[in-house]
């Protein structure tokens, strides 16, 4: 026991010698908790997603359709887009034809769109017709969006539904007799319950039968869950929602394919600390003395490590994707060339961060601590763990600054959307840009750094 205690003490003494490691031990957990709290929106009064981009096309001239759009705009979970922005920054209303290319675009923000068609209220039958277009990249996000969309539609719908009833009746009994009928009802209502007959008739003609109240709709919370389910059931039979998956419909193994990018990034990020650590190992072994006594520059050492890191990362990614192919049927070989390209750029971006850590950290332990923090930060922010759209809007701004976000966009552009080289090019450009910037800083720091002192 005594021996063990001596050994334990030795470790503590070593640890306290290492100022960087000591401070990171305290800083990292703090930063982590703060970060995760913010990502999950722990401090927000009302939790839940906010600002999920949703494109809305209103092709109906029905005034109730405008109400639906307004209701969606008022829903804080959504950030509603109704305008198409031309290259010259002028705008026009979105049309259904804009939606499909928009959803397909690599790196696009919008994954869901709602179309309110011209035949929202059917002239020929009883019921409503809506269309949802999607690029369902993430199971959680898809379910969230569908849920909120249904809630919003169903709470706005009772009024629409009344209109639907009215138009059916009109068709069946003719305009004049229909007016008489409504008038008779209004008269009966006003004599039985009081109120102005004219007003009642107007509101009946506008479709307001009080269905909203009856069905627990129009912004009111149902008294209990059973009521809500019952009304939703009734409504879902009346409302016909057409779903169209714009992207990834032909993908054979949709679930695995849509999330494999996140796995790949998790995996790759560990290369960050590994590549930093190997530089420190070589330094601690004193080998750089010999290498640098040869006609070799510090920058060359760093670039050498970088290229090695990229190659190893690339090989591991390819193995990972092929494992996905064999085990889960992810269609890898169909897009092999592009996939390798995206993998290379993703690996390069990751490795560049490893090089930066090696250039700024005083020792391997510090580099490790920083790497842990960076891995968690970038994975969480970049959406490798849960969908970005579920994070608070404030945090979402930073997602696009992470290489994880862009790498995952790249993987899904290739595997999920089957994008072409030209379509993937912007993503590659961003990843390449991240790599270039980070490596420039790393080389600059490395040339000045303490790693050889």
């Amino acid at each position: 026991m005594r021996t063990i205690l001596v050994l334990v003490r030795k470790d503590f003494q070593n640890f306290f010698r290492n100022k960087a490691a000591v401070s990171l031990t305290f800083i990292v957990p703090f930063a982590m908790i703060w970060l995760f709290g913010n990502i999950f929106g722990v401090n927000k009064k009302d939790s839940g997603p906010s600002g999920i981009p949703l494109a809305v096309v209103n092709a109906s001239d029905n005034p109730a359709a405008v109400k639906l759009v307004e209701a969606l705009q008022a829903e804080k979970s959504f950030r509603v887009w109704t305008k198409f922005v031309n290259p010259d920054k002028s705008t026009r209303p979105l049309t259904e034809d804009d939606l499909r290319p928009m959803l397909r675009e690599a790196g696009a923000d919008v994954h869901f769109a709602l179309v309110i068609p011209a035949d929202l209220v059917s002239a020929t039958g009883f019921g409503l017709h809506l269309k949802i277009l999607s690029n369902p990249r993430n199971e959680i996000e898809t379910q969230t969006v569908n849920g909120i969309l249904q809630k919003t539609i169903f709470t706005t719908i009772p009024q629409l539904l009344g209109q639907s009833l009215q138009s059916s009746a009109k068709r069946l009994i003719g305009d004049d007799r229909f007016k008489q009928f409504n008038g008779a009802i209004a008269g009966a209502v006003s004599s039985a319950f009081g109120g102005d007959k004219e007003q009642i008739q107007q509101s009946i003609e506008a479709g307001d039968f009080g269905l909203g109240t009856a069905l627990g709709g129009a912004g009111k919370t149902p008294a209990n869950a059973a009521d809500a389910t019952a009304s939703t059931d009734v409504l879902s039979r009346i409302v016909r929602i057409e779903n169209e998956q714009v992207v990834g419909a032909q993908v054979k193994s949709p679930f695995a394919t849509s999330i494999v990018g996140g796995w790949a990034m998790q995996f790759l990020l560990f290369a960050v600390s590994a590549s930093a650590a190997s530089l420190f190992r070589e330094r601690d072994a004193g080998i750089f003395q010999r290498v640098l006594a040869a006609p070799v520059t510090r920058a060359q050492i760093l670039w050498g490590k970088f290229l090695y890191g990229v190659s190893i990362g690339l090989v591991q990614l390819i193995v990972l994707f092929f494992a996905g192919r064999i085990l889960f049927g992810i269609e890898v070989e169909k897009h092999l060339g592009l996939l390798i390209l995206v993998c290379t750029f993703a690996a390069a971006a990751c490795t560049s961060f490893g090089m930066l850590l090696a250039a700024v950290a005083p020792n391997a332990e510090a580099a490790n601590g920083m790497a842990t923090f960076l891995i968690m930060l970038m994975s969480a922010l970049g959406g490798a763990w849960f969908p970005i759209s579920i994070m608070p809007a404030f945090i979402q701004q930073f997602s696009k600054l992470t290489l994880v976000y862009w790498s995952m966009e790249g993987f899904s552009a290739v595997l999920w959307a089957g994008n072409s080289f030209v379509q993937v090019l912007p993503i590659l450009g961003i990843l390449g840009g991240i790599t270039a910037v980070v490596m420039t800083i790393a080389v600059w720091r490395f040339n000045r750094g303490k790693i050889f002192e």
């Binding site: 004193g286 003395q289 010999r290 006594a293 040339n447």
Partner: protein, 305 residues
């Protein structure tokens, strides 16, 4: 060939090199003799271009040695004080890598690797991982790894630490041969025997300063005596010891008195004194002073603490 003038290097508050000036001519075997922490390795690393000096001039064949400019290093070979080899790789793999860093390839590289292994008797261990080598074997490999590119100028930083006498001799002979063939060598050590045996010129360094510089003979003439008489420091010799300081310098180290008579004090007078005190002659040895004595004289400390 190598010109060092007023070179200063600080690590924070510590001045590791303090205005070092020296010149090493082509073909010299120059020794840098100094105790631990004297600044030998620091000077080597500056000459090798691993670190930048704070102030001072450092040129090789008239060209300034700049850390950022690798071209000055082609003519240079460095044997680091610590083993700088990839332990997981074989001896041959290590040598090939370091040869390639100097642009060697193909048959030339293959021949040089074979030669290098043979020169330090490691031919039959060439394919083994370096980590399986004994300390002395690693040292030998560490030495030849710096020679593959045939440098004109070799920096050897204590290359024989932990090497057995036989291998040490082999290394000495190898270095002497290379030196005869025209290689200029700076050899750092804290063994005065090594410096005495190998080096045509020696610089004595301590606390970042060059204390003395010259050939062995030149250095020894700096001592104010030509002979050193040693005898044990015991109660029987105490009476003698008490009388000596008026005739020269008396130092006591490790239970041994060292008496360095002033030039005007005759040895015959000393032995008359010994006889008169009735001390046996066998207690006394007389010897030519060594670099160690010089170091002691210059610093008041022993070379090896």
């Amino acid at each position: 060939m190598l010109n060092v003038a007023h070179l200063t290097k600080r690590y924070g508050a510590l001045t590791a090199l303090d205005g070092v000036s020296l010149h090493v001519a082509r073909g010299e075997f120059f020794g840098l003799l100094g105790p631990n922490g004297a600044g030998k390795s620091t000077l080597m690393s500056l000459v090798a271009g691993l670190r930048a000096a704070d102030t001072g001039v450092l040129t090789l064949d008239g060209v300034a040695i700049v850390t950022a400019d690798p071209s000055t290093r082609v003519a240079l070979g460095l044997v680091p004080q610590h083993i700088a080899l990839y332990p997981e790789l074989s001896a041959v793999q290590n040598l090939r890598i370091f040869g390639q860093l100097y642009g060697l390839h193909g048959t030339v590289l293959r021949e040089r690797v074979t030669e290098a292994l043979a020169a330090v008797q490691l031919t039959d261990r060439g394919q083994d991982q370096v980590k399986t080598f004994s300390g002395g074997m690693q040292r030998r490999l560490n030495l030849v790894a710096a020679l593959l590119h045939r440098p004109k100028f070799l920096l050897c930083d204590e290359p024989t630490v932990g090497v057995d006498p036989q291998s040490r001799n082999a290394i000495f002979e190898y270095l002497e041969r290379l030196n005869r063939e025209g290689l200029t060598i700076i050899y750092s050590t804290h063994y005065m025997e090594e410096a005495t045996r190998l080096c045509s010129r020696i610089g004595i360094i301590d606390h970042g300063k060059i204390l003395a510089l010259g050939t062995l003979d030149e250095l020894l003439t700096k001592l104010p005596f030509e002979e050193e008489i040693r005898f044990p420091a015991t109660p029987t010799t105490a009476g003698l010891a008490a009388q000596l300081p008026s005739h020269g310098e008396l130092l006591t180290l490790d239970g041994i008195h060292r008496f360095r008579p002033r030039p005007d004090y005759k040895l015959s007078a000393f032995f008359t004194l010994v006889e008169s005190l009735g001390l046996p002659a066998r207690l006394f040895t007389s010897q030519r002073p060594t670099l160690e004595a010089l170091f002691l004289h210059l610093t008041g400390r022993n070379l090896r603490e």
